[in-house]
């Protein structure tokens, strides 16, 4: 439980963090809340030579509404997002999901940026981002770019950030419509065995799945069925299509596929679909 030796630098600005990333490349890792990275390091499954600590950058901790979008600074802690009046009014599903992550200790340390940049398919916030049709604002040596959430999660624990880039903001369209969130866990603090999220947006119904494949994913077949007029129960039967869940002692592939249908059905019902 003692990590391998590493260097530690506290970056005082995003620019400084980018500079350090450019300098050290793959040897360096950004440290935000540390709730994914530090356990891996303690088990020596990750052994970065340098940690660039950005967790204290207050300028990246905010929730605000701008031009029809709810913008969340990447270093906003889950607890702060869950209790943000802006988020609760204009993206209530995002606030709710943040409030269900892990346990109070995790929510007081973990950040939305860290959670999303980690790209864990069993995490809840990436699914919320997909269902809401959100995007990611990232900054690198060549400036700022925005990445659609659909293009962000590439493969297992791999996202569309280059080694020099820092995720600085998460954006979702203002979304006051009904939504449903269902997460099956053994314990309240656990990662989802399977999770499902349904949100009614101006573009239709966004449906996303948690822990049903190597990446956080849309339930595309459900979305398509709904778009072509299927009712919620029938649409939910398509929830497992295109998924690639893994098997472990918490659930077989068949079980996860079954549960995905159940949870999508319930999430759609709660969302009033």
């Amino acid at each position: 439980m003692i990590p391998a030796s590493f260097d530690y630098v506290r970056a005082e600005s995003v620019d400084e963090a980018i500079g350090l990333l450019s300098e050290h490349g793959d040897d360096a890792k950004l440290l935000a809340g540390g709730h994914s990275l530090l356990p891996l390091m303690k088990l020596r499954l990750a052994q970065p030579a340098m940690l660039i600590d950005i967790g204290h950058l207050r300028e990246l901790s905010y929730v605000k509404e701008e031009k029809g979008y709810v913008c969340v600074g990447a270093l906003t802690r889950h607890h702060d997002l869950a209790n943000s009046l802006v988020a609760r009014a204009s993206a209530p599903v995002l606030a709710h999901v943040a409030g269900q992550i892990g346990d109070p200790q995790v929510r007081h340390r973990g950040t939305i940026g860290g959670s999303i940049a980690h790209g864990d398919p069993a995490s809840d916030l990436p699914a919320a981002l997909l269902a809401l049709g959100g995007s990611l604002v990232v900054q690198g040596p060549n400036g700022i770019r925005e990445i659609d959430a659909n293009d962000f999660f590439l493969s297992f624990f791999e996202v569309a950030l280059t080694p020099e880039e820092v995720l600085i903001e998460v954006r979702v369209p203002r979304s006051e419509g009904q939504w449903g969130f269902e997460k099956l866990t053994k314990r309240a603090m656990d990662w989802a065995i399977v999770g499902a999220l349904a949100v009614r947006t101006s573009n239709g119904v966004g449906v996303a799945l948690i822990n049903m494949g190597p990446v956080p994913m849309h339930a595309r077949a459900v979305e398509a069925a709904l778009a072509s007029g299927a009712n919620a129960s029938d649409a939910a039967q398509h929830a497992a299509e295109g998924t690639e869940p893994s098997a472990d002692f918490n659930g077989s592939v068949a079980y996860r596929r079954h549960v995905a249908k159940v949870l999508v059905g319930r999430a759609l019902k709660t969302a009033g679909v």
Binding site: I2, P39, L43, L184, R187, V259
Partner: protein, 768 residues
């Protein structure tokens, strides 16, 4: 007015709630070196080579040892009952037999250096066939110890009546898995040792039994027991798994002796999950027979006990299961058989209940299956078979003598608190509605044995000239609240305020003897010893007062309202405890003092009834515990607050076994649950507020009328919850779900039953 029976708040708590405790790892030992262990990554392999040269060459590494360097004897057999060819060396020698087995000891100037040095040791393994399933182990196809010629290490066989079930109208048969669990105390194993200037080994240990650690160290290290001084600072839980000495403890002591520097070792959580003994791990085959009218007449349980790689205390725990075979029921014929086998896994040891929860789980689950078979309400079946309150002392078919009980009272009270009939009506309505969220109600009537390996205990009371009272006890509390409880006993006998009482434990220099704290023994024997010492010291004080007052011994009165002695009828002239303590010293130089080595009058048998109410989502298999009602009878209750605390913690752990916890290995013996992310240690979020009640049936066995309460919660709760889950899905054709009743398990059980009872039909109707 008596202080006994009152909710006296814990004297221990202000420290824990403010500055916190002081644990072994917190001790300030200047100049310490840090011990850590290279542990096997293979479940079963020959050690072809162990190259420590890289670690030895690292700056800051003080010493690196393999087993040959130590020259310490192997661990002993367990009470002479386990196979001599299966003992564990201090460090692996030639063969490793479980993942986590220590191979190399590294001593370094810091924990960080030690952690890096671990990675520099190169171990070359030649894999051997892994035996992880105890049923496979029993076949002896692949042996862990070829010299033993078998994997079996301990057997029991009680009865062998081939006609056992011949006159039964109904016989049910069940195979039960009482799964392997990890004790998970908040503080893992930890020790810190150094040689004192006068050549003694001072050993700080996170243990439940300091005198046992002292004797163990002395024996292994070839020291006289009085050359070893064991101290327990605050200990963060143990649950039985810290009641014995581990090889790592001995190596800590050895290093301190040989290096002449303070040596400390504190295991990490990941190490603790592999190195601290595991609990339970029984495979049970159960048969129960009786009449269609609900009279149980015959019962047999056969246990296959998984000992892990080296027989530790777990190997002989079937003995305790045997003792409790027939539970609280009047069953004319009951038999028990057990076989304990080694497998390539962490050794199993005592864990909260230690052999008794397994007995209760078996018979209580089977009672429900039997009730279902004869279509009788499970509460009614229990009511008809419980031993009546006029039948004590009661001798069971396996020759256990229960002291006293009123089992029916506990059952009826639990049913009343639960609102049982209304619950059944609610369940029926929910079933009829076809709602995917179904209700289950589970009962468990239990009786268990405390101070089951009846040891005596030491207790002493000393009055100091300033009037303060010093209590010494051989028990070794690690959360139970003995400081509060023993203070109450002494205050009651001596009339002194509890603030004036200091309770000393966990120091082998100050407390000469002690068996420690395990098996729910402390109050009934350790508390009783302290109580007796207080009674004795009052008698001695009366002798002194008689001298001082020049009065008749029989006329001396202790006025407990102001803690002073006077001659009957003249309370105005009195002597305080402090004055008598001074008089004692003046008389012959000895303090006013009494010590007692109380011999055990035998075990006691707490009992009770637990009821769990659950919701089961039949579409996902997820179980939610809604209510847990516990009626426990531990004889006379000294302090309900402490007793409830024991019951609460016990229920949490018992519920956790039924619902969540399981140590899982893959077929190659790799542990899949060595962190709290994977091992589903229960949290407050999964637990409702418990509904606890006590009935009090004092035992005649001891002066306090007290039985043990430390393990009742665990013993009673597991089968209640397990039965509730099975009950919730029984109408779907499910006969049984193995523990832990995780979502996948429950869902699989529903699915497997579906061809007979169309589960999907039932659930479709309702939707949600």
């Amino acid at each position: 007015m008596s202080i006994l029976g009152n909710r006296v708040v814990r004297r221990e708590d202000p420290k824990f709630l403010t500055v916190g405790g002081t644990y072994v790892a917190d001790l300030d030992l200047p100049g310490s070196v840090y011990l850590t262990f290279v542990r096997s990554s293979m479940a079963h392999a020959k050690l072809l080579s162990v190259d420590t040269s890289g670690a030895k060459a690292m700056p800051g590494v003080v010493a690196v040892y393999t087993n040959d360097d130590l020259g310490i004897a192997r661990m002993p057999t367990i009470m002479g009952m386990t196979n001599e060819a299966m003992t564990q060396p201090m460090l692996a020698s030639g063969t490793v037999r479980y993942v986590g087995e220590p191979i190399v000891a590294i001593v370094a100037e810091s924990r960080e250096i030690a952690a890096d040095a671990l990675e520099a040791v190169v171990v070359e393994y030649e894999p051997l066939t892994v035996v992880i399933d105890p049923a496979e182990a029993r076949k002896d196809n692949d042996l862990l110890f070829p010299d033993a010629g078998t994997n079996t290490t301990f057997t029991l066989d009680f009865g062998g009546d081939e006609a056992l079930f011949d006159d039964c109208e109904v016989v049910v048969e069940l195979t039960l898995i009482n799964q392997r669990v990890a004790p998970c105390p908040m503080e893992g194993r930890s020790a810190a040792a150094h040689m004192t200037k006068d050549g003694r080994l001072e050993f700080n240990s996170a243990t439940q039994a300091p005198h046992g650690v002292r004797d163990g160290l002395a024996g292994f290290l070839g020291l006289e027991p009085d050359k070893v001084h064991v101290v327990t600072p605050d200990v963060g839980g143990g649950f039985g798994a810290k009641a014995s000495v581990y090889p790592e403890d001995i190596v800590v002591g050895w290093c301190a002796v040989h290096l002449g520097r303070p040596v400390r070792w504190t295991e990490t959580r990941s190490e603790s999950m592999l190195g601290l003994g595991h609990g339970r791990a029984q495979l049970q085959h159960v048969r129960m027979g009786g009449t269609r009218g609900g009279v149980i007449s015959a019962y047999r349980i056969d246990v296959l006990q998984d000992c892990g790689a080296y027989p530790a205390f777990g190997a002989v725990l079937p003995f305790m299961t045997r003792v409790m075979t027939s539970g609280p029921y009047k069953i004319p014929k009951a038999e028990f058989g057990s076989v304990s086998v080694v497998t390539n896994s962490t050794p199993t040891t005592a864990y909260r209940g230690a052999g008794r929860p397994e007995a209760t789980a078996a018979i209580e689950r089977t009672m429900d299956v039997f009730a279902r078979e004869i279509e009788m309400d499970p509460a009614e079946l229990r009511r008809r078979n419980l031993i009546g309150k006029d039948e004590f002392p009661y001798t069971t078919p396996t020759e256990t003598v229960y002291d006293v009980g009123d089992y029916h009272q506990a059952l009826e009270l639990a049913l009343e608190v639960a609102g049982y009939d209304e619950l059944r009506a609610k369940q029926a309505r929910r079933r009829a509605s076809g709602d995917p969220i179904q209700i289950g109600i589970g009962l468990s009537c239990y009786v268990e044995i405390t101070n089951g390996l009846p040891d005596g205990e030491f207790g002493a009371v000393e009055v100091r000239p300033d009037g303060k009272i010093i209590v010494r006890t051989g028990t070794s509390p690690h959360g139970q609240g003995h400081v509060t409880a023993w203070s109450m006993l002494v205050a009651e006998q001596m009339g002194v305020p509890i603030e004036d009482i200091e309770v000393i434990y966990g120091d082998t220099d100050v407390v000469p003897r002690g068996a420690g704290t395990m098996g729910s023994r402390s109050l009934q024997i350790g508390g009783a010893a302290v109580n007796q010492a207080a009674v004795d010291v009052v008698e001695k004080a009366k002798d002194l007062a008689a001298d001082l007052f020049e009065a008749d011994r029989e006329d001396i009165v202790l006025d407990k309202s102001n803690a002073s002695f006077h001659v009957i009828g003249t309370p105005a002239v009195s002597k305080s405890w402090g004055e008598l303590a001074k008089a004692a010293v003046a008389k012959d130089g000895n303090p006013l003092f009494a010590e007692v080595d109380l011999a055990s009058p035998g075990p006691t048998f707490p009992f009770g009834t637990h009821i769990s109410v659950v919701e089961v989502d039949v579409e996902t298999g997820k179980v939610t515990l809604l209510r847990h009602i516990a009626v426990d009878d531990a004889g006379r209750i000294l302090n309900p607050l402490l007793a409830e605390g024991q019951v609460h913690g016990g229920i949490a752990q018992g519920v956790a076994q039924a619902l969540l916890e399981e140590v899982v290995y893959d077929p190659d013996g790799n542990p899949l649950t060595s962190t709290f992310a994977d091992y589903s240690f229960i949290s407050a979020a999964e637990l409702p507020s418990f509904e606890t009640r006590f009935t009090e049936t004092p035992t005649p066995i001891n002066a306090l009328g007290a039985k043990g309460i430390g393990e009742s919660g665990t013993i009673g709760s597991t089968p209640a919850l397990h039965n509730a889950v099975c009950d919730a899905v029984a109408h779907l054709g499910v006969r049984h779900v193995d523990m832990p009743t995780t979502p996948i398990r429950v869902w699989n059980a529903i699915n497997d039953a579906a061809p007979h009872h169309d589960a999907k039909n039932t659930t479709k109707k309702g939707g949600r």
